[in-house]
């Protein structure tokens, strides 16, 4: 049997809003069909992700909860910056300084300290494992 009391959606239907602050119940097919809204109105909010983080953690999925907390920080980071950071974290793409800049941007501009820490931790490992742009170029010679 499905234990619907534990269903997070049911618990939060009333209070949940989209990233743009639209209450869940105001999102209707009629309004969309009439031309209202854009994808931002169908984007998850920081609060909803933090709530999902709590649920995951309480269920025993600690790392998933941490991921949702990082995700909550990324809600307001634009798509192109997200893609830029992802690209920067791939091997041999960036220098230590560039990763440091990405981390700073996350921390200062987007108030994303956990994500910033993630990038900084990557930078440390990339330095020691030779995964930075310069290291790669040197090793290729």
């Amino acid at each position: 049997m499905i234990n619907s009391e534990k269903n997070a959606a049911r618990l939060h239907d009333k209070s949940i809003t989209s990233k743009t602050g639209v209450p869940l119940n105001d999102l209707s097919l009629e309004r969309i069909a009439a031309g209202w809204g854009d994808m931002a109105d169908f984007s998850i909010s920081r609060q909803a992700l933090l709530r999902q983080a709590e649920i995951a953690t309480a269920g025993g999925w600690r790392q998933l909860g941490e991921n949702f907390r990082r995700a909550a920080e990324l809600v307001n980071v634009p798509d192109d910056i997200i893609l830029q950071i992802y690209e920067g974290l791939r091997p041999f793409r960036t220098t230590a300084a560039e990763l440091g800049e990405l981390a700073s941007k996350l921390r200062l501009q987007f108030h994303a300290p956990e994500c910033a820490r993630w990038v900084e931790e990557a930078a440390e490992v990339y330095v020691s494992r030779g995964l930075l742009k310069t290291a790669h170029e040197n090793s290729d010679r």
Partner: protein, 746 residues
């Protein structure tokens, strides 16, 4: 040198097209116990791992560092590592130890320890463990929907059918990469036509995949591949941190993800570091968990033939599925690539996931014919769907699919293609024609689809990707053009992003958009009588495959000839040269055809014609007191003037009997009625007449068919049951007058 013809036959069998090799541990071609595999160990100092699996922190590679930082739960690690691996293996299958308690300990184990634990289990125990500790209580299945032409109408129709058949997730990909936004759109529209709430994804390069999700065209992604050694991971152009960031990025857009890993990938890339496949997979799974992925697809995936070439390969693939479940990860358990040439071996391998159930039994069942599968072709495909549905029914196992009828399926396919045509129109794409819609409805595969102008299509797809249009335009177009239900389903899929419940472990949607996940549908298996078992309406659905018929209703084939008889009073003992044909109680009344659909009118006509060929008279009587052939013919011979009788049951089983023989003895018995033709019945008539007139008769030889019992036992049982229901004990034999007289020529 002599050659065995039997060896030659076996050499040509499908199994011998598969490749088998001996182990080569240095190349990573070994499932377990390579010499370079470490022994389990863990040492903590000041809340930090300083030694893991025999390696001090200073020597950690990239993956070790990630696992030590993120994957192993330190609060339980020392306690868990201190438990004997055999004991941990035993609690995996111990029905008295709750799942949560098992998972808690597993969260503290290193890769080497995890592998040591599963190495104690045989495959049956692995299945027991998977049944007990997989995340979601209700099993589900995922489909692959692709086609070689990237035909949008066919993608929509196939996605609709897959959804209609019960797949909870649909994965597509592209032939030409630039089609990605179109394919994602076609599969989204199609899936929501077949059943609301089916999750969809388009497997393409990571950055593209993320862009599709951001446009609202996909709801999940599973192509986040991880590898168990540093060089393999880096060859894959990622690191655990880049993958972990992607995981967060997807979640931030309300998109479900799972990672991908699988035994053999490192050996394939020549970067196995001399370590076993299962040890490297355990590292992948720890990274998956550490990065915060809710789940993984594993089970060797596209490398499946590599572990299968080695001893213990299929068992190890089951072990890797189990390792994922042990870490609390949703697991989509492979079966998505061709595992063998041999159907026996393919199916045997499948059973290790199918029988225990998993979160997704296939991480891509090829719901389209394999020729159109752009992932390379699943272990089972569209042609095997009926087999799969029968397996569910046979084993009383919920494999995630349901039987569907042809007419409803065609209607759903057509509607999906029509809906996509409306969406194409809205976005100004080159139109989907009526001919395409019609072809998509009935197609076997993409060669049945009309060709499109690929250059124009790709230009439109690229404009769509870079332009402002999103899935919301599709919702509007569908709502305004006669597809409000599909619009509603797509709208609801998008709305669910705002809630995010389906980001939780192992989440799927029901048709009413209720989430089933590890949070609200947690696996509660605790031994017999607990956990998920198909029951009620779902079991009924699994039972009612379209081929199954109601045995209570006699089934008449198309033949027109109906026997009409008139009863002429109690049959009396005869005299003179005659053969009595004694028929069963349902003959020509309730039953009109033999087990192999010969009309009883013609069977009787041939028997009589055969007797007449030899110049002997025939009398037909009906036995009411029994349906037993021995008794029918015994009674016939008792009444026969010559003492010779032919006994015939309505199912066609026939015997020639002579008065004085015991009921179970006979002159000739034709027990395989399915093998009898009308010509045989004529010759039976002749032989009986020759016995009656004392002339020699050569016993009739009927061909033997190995499959006869398999093919006819059910029908035989049903026909005999009907005949027996017509028995009237105590009623004497009736003399019959036959109204339909003439035999048709044979």
């Amino acid at each position: 040198m002599s050659q065995s013809r039997r060896f030659a036959v076996r050499a040509a069998r499908e199994i011998n097209k598969d490749t088998f090799i001996q182990e080569w541990p240095e190349a990573g071609l070994v499932l377990l116990g390579a010499t370079a595999d470490p022994h389990p160990s863990l040492r903590l100092e000041n809340g930090q791992i300083v030694e893991m699996d025999g390696k001090p922190r200073e020597q950690f590679d990239m993956i070790d560092t990630f696992i030590a930082c993120h994957s192993i739960q330190l609060d339980v690690a020392e306690e868990a590592m201190a438990v004997d691996s055999l004991q941990l293996a035993r609690i995996l299958v111990d029905i008295h130890v709750p799942r949560a308690q098992v998972i808690r300990l597993m969260n503290g184990l290193t890769a080497a320890k995890l592998v040591e634990v599963v190495s104690y289990l045989n495959v049956v125990e692995m299945m027991m463990a998977l049944q007990k500790i997989r995340v979601r209580r209700t099993p589900a299945n995922q489909a692959h929907v692709t086609n070689r032409k990237d035909s949008p109408a066919l993608l929509a129709a196939d996605a609709a059918e897959a959804a209609f058949r019960g797949f909870a997730e649909i994965e597509t990909t592209v032939g030409v990469a630039r089609y990605a936004p179109w394919n994602a759109l076609a599969v989204l529209v199609g899936s929501q036509t077949g059943r609301g709430g089916v999750l969809t994804q388009c497997a393409v390069e990571e950055a593209m995949s993320l862009r599709l999700a951001m446009k609202g065209l996909t709801t999940y992604a599973e192509t986040l591949s991880v590898y168990g050694t540093d060089p393999a991971f880096i060859d894959g152009d990622d690191t655990p941190w880049s993958k972990g960031f992607l995981a967060s990025a997807y979640a931030s857009r309300g998109v479900k993800i799972r990672f991908t890993s699988g035994t053999g990938s490192e050996a394939l890339m020549a970067h196995a570091n001399g370590q076993s496949m299962l040890y490297l997979e355990a590292r992948c799974l720890l990274m998956t968990k550490g990065a915060g992925s809710q789940g993984v697809q594993n089970g060797s995936i596209s490398c499946i033939a590599l572990p299968e070439s080695l001893p213990g390969g299929v068992a190890a693939v089951a072990a890797e599925n189990l390792l994922a479940a042990m870490l609390g990860l949703e697991v989509a358990t492979g079966n998505d690539a061709m595992a063998s040439h041999s159907d026996i071996r393919k199916c045997a391998k499948l059973m290790l996931q199918f029988l225990p159930g998993s979160d997704f039994i296939f991480s891509g069942y090829s719901s389209i014919p394999k020729q159109d599968n752009m992932f390379g072709g699943g272990n089972l495909d569209a042609d095997d769907l009926d087999d799969y549905l029968v397996l569910q029914r046979d084993m009383k196992v919920d494999g995630g699919l349901r039987p569907v009828g042809e007419n409803e399926t065609l209607a759903v396919r057509r509607r999906a293609a029509e809906a996509l045509a409306v969406v194409f129109d809205r976005f100004g794409f080159p139109p989907i024609t009526k001919a395409e819609i019609h072809a998509a409805e009935t197609a076997y595969a993409s060669p049945d689809m009309p060709d499109r102008d690929m250059a124009a299509d790709l230009a439109a797809a690229e404009r769509f990707l870079s332009g402002p249009d999103t899935v919301l335009g599709a919702v509007q177009a569908l709502a305004k053009n006669g597809f409000p239900d599909i619009a509603q389903n797509i709208f609801e899929i998008e709305r669910q992003r705002v809630i995010g419940d389906y980001l939780q472990p192992s989440a799927i949607f029901t048709g009413r958009f209720d989430v089933l996940s590890g949070i609200n549908d947690a696996n509660d298996y605790m031994g017999p009588g607990t956990g998920y078992r198909p029951s009620g309406a779902r079991w009924e659905e699994i039972c009612n495959i379209p081929q199954a018929y109601d045995p209570r209703l006699p089934r008449h084939a198309t033949s027109a000839a109906t026997l009409a008889v008139e009863e002429c009073g109690e049959a009396q003992p005869g005299s003179g040269l005659e053969v009595v044909i004694a028929v069963g109680p349902a003959f020509g009344t309730r039953l009109q055809q033999t087990v192999n659909d010969l009309p009883l009118a013609e069977v009787l006509a041939q028997l009589r014609a055969g007797i007449a060929d030899e110049g002997v008279a025939a009398r037909v009587i009906k036995i009411y007191r029994t349906s037993d052939l021995g008794q029918i013919s015994f009674e016939g011979s008792r009444l026969s003037g010559s003492g010779i009788a032919i006994g015939t049951q309505s199912k066609g089983t026939t015997v020639i009997h002579r008065r004085g023989l015991l009921p179970l003895n006979n002159l000739e018995l034709f027990s395989q009625a399915s093998q009898l033709s009308l010509e045989h019945y004529r010759r039976i008539g002749r032989n009986a007449a020759r016995y009656a007139s004392g002339r020699p008769a050569e016993p009739l030889l009927v061909p033997v068919d190995n499959m006869a019992r398999l093919k006819y036992i059910v029908k035989t049982t049903i026909l005999h049951r009907h005949e027996t229901e017509c028995v009237q004990s105590g009623r004497p034999a009736e003399l019959l007058r036959i109204k339909t007289l003439e035999a048709t020529s044979v």
